[in-house]
Symmetry: C2
Subunit: 316 residues, 2 copies
């Protein structure tokens, strides 16, 4: 093979790509990867970037982003992740609190018609979970439960690189198991769910009640400084998380637990503490490694690319 | 084919069998089935029966039962279910409280050496669960959670006819999720597990404390008669079971929940009541049918036969 032929081959492979788009409430992140990239590790992106979320005409806005990113390349598949309830089998956004214009939208079909390529629409938590399980903190383990701590608590059991959906597509809701039967009313309508104790609004409220000011960052800073009231609030939250993990181990018995999301960005506050409580309280349970997520805010975009690589057909 | 040839074929197929043995604490049940039986429904047994459990020399005693049952037939596979902790991959009984002579016994290898056929050893709860899921109350549903209520509470998630083992073989322990954080100490060492409220010893204790006499049968009889204290005890238990089912639906999202075991033999006491509480309390949850088991005390033996049929190689 001459140098010119080798260069031509590289250009050709490089020109055939998959695109993953993580649609967030405020920004849209994209990752473009070679269509022949390995799924064994995160591919070197051909392009990555961020745009403001097109909220008023999201379908046209997303199509415009796709056209701008692909340029002259041939796309074989597009995968989008959406914050909200997604009918993944039919590519429909059932409900998205952050982008109401997408509610009920057959986003997959509409973008397929516009772009002429296969388009999948997946839940953003699922996207981040498969990426963390396969390319992040769970890499190398076949059976990983991924938990995202933020305003809400999202969970997904990932086995063999795919989310275990449950019989109705709603498995993994660790945020809505009861921890304190006499606790506060939850957004789900029940009482004392994990989310009512460890969700960001609950932490802010507990911190304010303990005399603190500011949000969770102020709480965690005070915790780092050894502030006694902050210590009580954080320990109460980590204790609730530990109870949820013990239930998870009893019922699901995962091979690794990865904890990410905004509230786990400084893992020593919650993840390490919860892992210590779990180790202290476990009896018959088989406790797997409990580790912080590693992909940060690009987890979702990585998950869309991974999903695109896994789902695309034979190439070239 | 002449009539003589047809008869000869039937006799030959009939002479090649799989044997399933459910080893209980007091009795051993066996079921012999044609090796070419369909796994789609319970086969008509070639033989079924019951012996006392050989407790002092269990390996020799079980081998003698196998020899007596098979008679002139050629066995292609034997599957035994054991009450206790079983290393199914290696055919070892790790611990069996009811038959201590089996503790640590390489039962699979020893019976294979004795009988000259493949032998599998499985947990008795798993055996009953696959049978109920495939041939009992869960037949026709691909994703079934089977719960057995008795002295202890056993659970198994059966997907596609096989128990989902978890990463360390210990998934499904619904009896040991916390229902009442301030409840009684459990056999597992934690506090307020489902088993501390709804296990048979807990029900007997609650019934005695409420002024009742006799065991759970007396409690359930009083409940049927509309006895107020019995109603309180049974409703408290059904309420705890409902809470555990809500956690199960949030986390695992099964397509059907089958409830069996000694305490579910008269389902109107616990199963129907728990299902009503679940329906009243569910919010976001996707609640599947919650149904009583149908195979009764032969569930385990059916599960060993099903496992033998699924695992045997090509026949004849």
């Amino acid at each position: 093979m001459t140098d010119t032929e080798a260069a031509a081959t590289i250009v050709a492979a490089d020109a055939i790509a998959v695109l993953g788009i993580d649609v967030g409430g405020s920004s849209v992140k994209h990752l473009l990867a070679r269509a022949d990239a390995s799924t064994a590790r995160p591919p070197e992106p051909l392009a990555r970037g961020r745009n403001a979320t097109p909220k008023s005409a999201p379908v046209d806005g997303l199509a415009a982003i796709v056209e701008a990113v692909r340029g002259d390349r041939r796309l074989t598949r597009l995968v989008l992740s959406i914050p909200g309830i997604v009918d993944e089998a039919r590519g429909i956004v059932v409900r998205s609190t952050n982008i109401p214009a997408l509610d009920g939208c057959a986003l997959g079909d509409r973008l397929e018609a516009e772009l002429g390529i296969p388009v999948d629409v997946i839940n953003d938590g699922h996207a981040a979970a498969v990426a963390e399980a396969s390319w992040g903190a769970g890499a190398g383990v076949d059976d990983v439960f991924v938990l995202a701590l933020g305003t809400g608590i999202a969970g997904a059991h990932v086995v063999g690189g795919r989310v275990v959906p449950g019989a109705h597509g709603s498995a993994g809701e660790l945020g809505h198991i009861t921890i304190d039967p006499s606790g506060s009313v939850c957004s789900c309508g029940r009482r004392g769910c994990l989310e009512t104790i460890i969700g960001a609004p609950a932490l802010r409220a507990a911190w304010a009640e303990a005399g603190g000011s500011g949000g969770t960052e102020s709480l965690f800073a005070a915790h780092t400084d050894g502030h006694a009231a902050a210590k009580r609030v954080v320990e109460h939250a980590a204790s609730a998380l530990a109870e949820a993990i013990l239930t998870l181990c009893a019922l699901v018995d995962p091979g690794c637990i990865v904890i990410g999301g905004g509230l786990a960005q400084a893992p020593h506050h919650l993840v390490t503490l919860a892992a210590r409580f779990v180790a202290e309280r476990a009896t018959f349970h088989r406790i797997p490694p409990i580790v912080p997520a590693t992909l940060g805010e690009w987890a979702g975009a990585n998950g869309t690319v991974l999903t695109a690589l896994l789902r695309q057909g034979t190439l070239v």
